[in-house]
């Protein structure tokens, strides 16, 4: 019973095996990819392991506190930011091993030519609740 974040990157992850940008796939390949992702989420819900899944727009802003009584300071977007998050899935699983297994399956989503992308996903454990019994 631990939650993990499976993090997808637009940029910043190592190059996948099947490294063709999505806008160069056929429409059928895109549909197959989307279907795979939807099926994966549905299957996780049926196994009682799904928590959340979200996609992010690629463009955002940097924002910081502007000082007392001033509006926030904004900057960017920076086209060259090294690490760019595309979205995530949150799972609730019984073991670290299971989290890796599911990330492996998600990474098998089909891309160009209908072949698995082998996308590198970042797997990050949540900091959970403190156990009550410690001694």
């Amino acid at each position: 019973m631990a939650k993990y974040l499976l993090l997808k990157h637009y940029r910043g992850a190592p190059a996948p095996a099947n490294d063709v940008p999505m806008d160069q796939w056929t429409p059928e390949e895109i549909s197959a990819h989307v279907t795979y992702m939807d099926d994966f989420a549905a299957r996780l819900e049926s196994t009682g392991e799904f928590v959340d899944s979200q996609a992010l727009a690629p463009e955002g802003m940097w924002v910081q506190y502007g000082g007392e009584g001033r509006p926030p300071v904004t900057d960017g977007p920076f086209a060259e930011t090294k690490d760019l998050i595309a979205g995530w899935m949150v799972i609730d699983v019984d073991s670290h091993q299971r989290a890796l297994e599911l990330a492996g399956e998600l990474s098998a989503a089909p891309g160009a030519g209908g072949r698995p992308i082998h996308e590198w996903l970042e797997v990050r454990p949540f900091l959970g609740a403190a156990p009550t019994i410690t001694e």
């Binding site: 928590v51 609740a129 019994i133 001694e135």
Partner: protein
């Protein structure tokens, strides 16, 4: 929930009502749904019209719900030959129904998270929504986890004796790994452990109940007003719940007198020794080390060995603790935290500060991470001060 309805009393009837339905021949999954419906109906109807016989009322309503559900699926009724009339009373149960439900919900074929969810629903009488909120997952996910768990145990015969150890493990998990939500899982675990200890004659069931009571007794002292963790040695012992401690000690003594030691009794004995010390300095660490020796023998768990190193450090001095620690795998969770604590006690502040920072990076939960970061900062301040 209105104040005129005791929700815990209502939920405490769950396993016996469910047991009656299963004894009458209802399949477990459908019966469990029917009992949930009856509980919801009771919450609605009882405040205005409280029944004289609450359990009888629940059985009647749940059975009707079960039959309605069965009738709605006529094909299934024919296939399974379920009767739609009031049944003759089943054979007198040889083993307590409540106990059988504990066994079923903690069946070894279930994963720990499934067993926890099913136990909280079918034995605890909590709703799927409450359980989902308690474990911070969507209700739909929890509903699937529970229905999968029911399917997994659908072939298990209800009257087969089960494994007490798996039941105890599930209750321990409910107590120890619960988030804090609307449902107080620690209190719920104690209620379920108490109910279990009442229906089974087993020293480890008593040991677990004692452990939970003795640990729970410190709850108010365990966190500061800002939510940060307060280590055992720094807790205000005046805030420990003496009633809970007294009950835990009594139960533990009765269990130990039976001379069938197990890991929960040994853990409870350690908790009792802490509870017995008026101040942290007066803790009987020598006896605690002896109990850890028993625990190592019983469980051979690396986590127990780690905690034993802390106790050795208190009993025989930090150097002895560090020597014990050096025999353990340093990839163990909390290894760096223990090493940091013992190093500071041994006067090696530079090492301690580095280890506290490392321990914070490796912490698996937020409260512990924050605590360890503060420790690192405190030791660094000591070094420069």
């Amino acid at each position: 929930m209105t104040s005129s309805l005791d929700e815990v009393l209502l939920r405490s009837l769950t396993p016996s009502v469910l047991g009656v339905l299963v004894r009458r021949g209802a399949d477990f999954a459908a019966a469990e749904d029917a009992v949930q419906d009856a509980l919801v109906e009771a919450v609605r109807a009882w405040p205005a019209d409280p029944p004289r016989d609450p359990k009888g009322w629940l059985v009647t309503v749940a059975w009707r719900r079960f039959l309605d559900g069965t009738r709605a699926d006529a094909a299934r009724r024919r296939r399974e030959g379920v009767l739609d009339r009031e049944p003759a009373p089943g054979p007198a149960p040889t083993v307590d129904d409540t106990l059988q439900l504990y066994f079923l919900c903690a069946h070894p074929s279930l994963t720990p998270s499934s067993a926890v969810a099913l136990t909280l629903r079918a034995v605890g009488g909590l709703t799927t929504r409450q359980i989902a909120q308690a474990y911070l997952v969507p209700e739909a996910t929890m509903a699937q986890r529970i229905s999968r768990a029911k399917r997994t145990v659908s072939g298990v015969r209800f009257d087969q004796p089960g494994d007490v150890a798996t039941v105890l493990r599930v209750l321990y998990l409910v107590f120890n790994e619960g988030y804090s939500g609307d449902v107080d899982l620690a209190t719920e675990a104690i209620r379920l452990a108490r109910q279990l200890a009442a229906v089974i004659d087993h020293p480890e069931a008593q040991g677990l109940l004692a452990l939970l009571l003795l640990t729970h007794a410190r709850r108010a002292a365990r966190t500061a007003s800002d939510g940060s963790l307060v280590p055992l040695a720094e807790q205000d012992r005046g805030r420990w719940d003496t009633e809970s401690i007294a009950e835990g000690v009594d139960i533990l003594q009765a269990a130990l007198a039976r001379d069938r030691l197990g890991e929960f009794q040994a853990q409870a004995a350690i908790a009792a020794l802490h509870a017995d010390a008026p101040t942290a300095e007066e803790t009987d660490w020598v006896q605690i080390v002896e109990w850890y020796d028993e625990l190592v023998r019983l469980t051979d768990s690396p986590v127990v060995r780690l905690n034993r190193a802390v106790a050795v450090g208190e009993a025989d001095g930090p150097r002895a603790g560090l020597a014990t620690l050096s025999t353990l795998d340093d990839s163990l969770p909390r290894h760096a935290a223990v090493a940091a604590y013992l190093s500071e006690r041994a006067g090696d502040l530079a090492t301690a500060a580095g280890l506290y920072a490392e321990a914070a990076r490796r912490a698996s939960n937020l409260a512990e991470r924050d605590h360890l970061v503060r420790q690192a900062a405190r030791v660094n301040a000591r070094r420069s001060g």
